[in-house]
């Protein structure tokens, strides 16, 4: 693990001149990146995709996981298998499936046209941020659901009885009991989804076309086309660092929440 990372650090401090690597240690690559609006924008875009996909999966997963934990008894195995099923198929197949559904001449547009809901195919469905988000949400949803489900499965149903018994209406019960106790699962799920989605290369390109271009494309280009490994390494580190900063900020905010702070429990 640390080996490649260390090599990358060293590389990122070198430079390329006349198509060959010059082994002069400097921070020129990083200075160049920070001064370059295009690389900053591409990094921000990767983080933005990560954030949006994480938020959408979170919104879908909490009720689904809650329902699974509370209302599905003997058929639990079946439901878990159904949720895991997408993970058994290749990512490539899943993205192609979404392309046939969302394409300009795809199934969704076709159906809407035939039902006369629309008169022109919706262009926005294919090779657009919307397509990226829909397909990435689909691909990463199982991770979020499973993480939250495991947390909610451990939730003692007697606590919900006690909350209602003491006068809590469903919304209060959800906000004050279910959500705080699901927090460990939510945090795990957010990390499971946010980190890989931000670093996603394949999916964003397959589904987004040019709109799916993020910093990961730039990294890929530096390594495979431009053969500027030092710059590629520096770009990788910029992405890694920015993910690290976002995750750290997220964890700090979460741990400051009153409900979580109590859960983590400071002794007085």
């Amino acid at each position: 693990m640390l080996g490649p990372l260390t090599i990358m650090v060293v590389y990122s401090l070198w430079r390329v001149e006349n198509f060959s690597v010059v082994q002069n240690v400097s921070f020129d690559n990083y200075a160049y990146l920070i001064g370059s609006p295009i690389y900053i924008w591409l990094t921000a875009k990767a983080l933005l995709y990560g954030a949006i996909v994480t938020i959408v999966t979170l919104i879908i997963s909490v009720p689904v996981a809650y329902f699974m934990a509370r209302h599905i008894g003997p058929r639990k195995g079946l439901v878990v298998t159904a949720i895991l099923l997408p993970l058994y198929t290749s990512e490539l197949i899943r993205y192609f499936a979404w392309r046939t559904i969302l394409g300009t001449e795809g199934m969704l547009n076709g159906a809407l046209l035939r039902l006369s809901v629309i008169s022109e195919p919706i262009e926005m469905l294919s090779f657009s941020p919307v397509a990226v988000i829909i397909s990435l949400v689909h691909v990463y949803l199982p991770f979020m659901i499973l993480a939250i489900w495991v947390a909610l499965e451990a939730l003692d149903p007697a606590l919900l009885d006690a909350a209602m018994d003491l006068g809590a209406r469903p919304i209060r019960m959800f906000g004050k009991i279910v959500l705080p106790l699901a927090m460990p699962g939510i945090i795990a799920g957010v990390l499971f989804v946010f980190i890989p989605v931000t670093g996603e290369f394949f999916g964003v390109n397959m589904m987004g076309g040019t709109t799916g271009f993020t910093i990961t494309n730039a990294i890929n280009d530096q390594f495979t086309s431009a053969f500027n490994w030092p710059l590629g390494s520096a770009l990788s580190y910029m992405l890694l660092l920015s993910i690290g900063v976002v995750v750290a900020v997220f964890l700090v905010i979460v741990s400051r929440l009153r409900m979580v702070r109590n859960y983590v429990g400071r002794e007085v």
Binding site: D161, A162, L166, G167, A168, N262
Partner: protein
């Protein structure tokens, strides 16, 4: 004593008879009328009717699986009833969700919120009511905590509390909202024996101070008898008998009640003669016995069961003055500390267990001794089923 004249502390305590025959002497806080519960095709609770009066301490006593906890959960609204009507004061509450019923529960394993400290746990119910300022909440939580002697525990996390402390937090959390009725679901079950006795006394004391009606679920007959004003004995989803603890103990109506509470001797015989409510029963082997038959169920054709408390059996010279007395052998002597249990065999080889205070004159007989054994007709109660 005859069935119609049998004193009853409460109207409506008995599912087998018309519950509306007599008015309740105390203002009823809770009234259940033919409440039943089915899980699928299994009938867990048959049509159960009873009343809890203002300030009363009532126990639902029964073995595990008897349906007592289900009854409690139906009253709290955590389990929908399949049939019947439930009234809190004069208000019908069957269709109300739990958060609209002014009833709170002390749960079996306390169900304290693990992500909240003691203060927040106790304040939870008050916050739900949205009636109080933060200062008022603080004041009420402090009062509730001092009621259970947990002052200064406000900021503790519940995970680090002992079993007894948790139980007291659960009680404080339930009473802080000043409910109309407090439900307790085996609140001492998770504690060890010594703590159970102490905490039981404290609960009883708390009940007296608050003047709040308590409905207490337990499988422990000693707990139920020692704490309650009235005991409702539940068996297989039905009320077997309800009444004051002493009434259930000395005047069991059914074989189940006789055996469940204090392990009475249950014998059987056929009717050979009757005078008023007093009957003469043939126990076989030439042994007859005079017994009390308040409901008049004994016949010559069918054997009936009757119960004798081991505490009511006399030995030696005291036995000679009893209505029923026989010559018998002591088969076994067991020493339990405060009491001694003797197994006695009659001439027709019927075995009886008799209990005596340790150190008393009757407790000193050795195994194998032959002695006079006897009991009064009023101590032998014919059971209805």
């Amino acid at each position: 004593m005859h069935a119609s004249t049998r004193p009853r502390t409460f109207a409506g305590v008995d599912a087998l008879e018309d519950k509306y025959a007599e008015p309740a002497p105390i203002e009823p806080i809770l009234r259940l009328s033919r409440v039943g519960k089915d899980f699928g095709s299994t009938r867990v609770v048959h049509d159960v009717s009873f009343v809890v009066g203002r300030g009363e301490f009532v126990s639902l006593l029964g073995p595990s699986g008897s349906g007592k906890t289900t009854i409690l959960r139906m009253i709290a609204g955590l389990e929908p009833a399949s049939r019947g009507e439930t009234y809190l004061k004069s208000e019908r509450i069957d269709d109300k969700p739990p958060y609209e019923r002014h009833v709170t529960t002390v749960f079996q394993d306390y169900a304290l919120f693990p992500h909240m400290n003691v203060f927040e746990n106790v304040a939870f119910g008050l916050r739900c009511q949205r009636l109080f300022s933060e200062a008022e909440i603080t004041k009420r939580v402090h009062n509730a905590l001092s009621l259970v002697r947990l002052n200064g525990y406000e900021q503790r996390t519940v995970r680090n509390l002992s079993g007894g402390e948790r139980q007291r937090v659960a009680v404080a959390r339930a009473v802080v909202t000043e409910p109309t009725l407090l439900l307790l679901d085996e609140p001492l079950g998770a504690l060890d024996l010594k703590l159970r006795r102490e905490t039981g006394k404290e609960l009883r004391e708390l009940h007296r101070r608050l003047g709040l009606a308590f409905l207490y679920v337990t499988h422990d007959q000693e707990e139920a008898l020692s704490m309650s004003d009235r005991v409702i004995l539940v068996h297989r989803g039905r009320i077997e008998q309800a009444g004051a603890p002493a009434e259930l103990f000395w005047r069991p109506r059914t074989k189940f009640v006789a055996e469940f509470i204090g392990e009475a001797n249950v014998l059987s015989g056929t009717l050979v003669g009757a005078e008023g409510s007093r009957v003469q029963l043939d126990l076989g082997g030439g042994v007859t016995c005079l017994a009390e038959d308040p409901e008049g169920v004994s016949t010559a054709a069918k054997t009936v069961d009757f119960a004798i408390r081991g505490e009511r059996i006399m030995l030696g010279s005291e036995a000679a003055s009893c209505t029923n007395h026989y010559l018998a052998n002591i088969a076994e002597v067991r020493f339990y500390g405060s009491l001694v249990e003797l197994t006695i065999v009659l001439a027709n080889s019927l075995r009886l267990r008799a209990r005596f205070t340790a150190g008393g004159p009757q407790a000193g007989l050795p195994p194998g001794a032959t002695t006079e054994v006897g009991w009064d007709a009023s101590s032998a109660v014919v059971l209805t089923e």
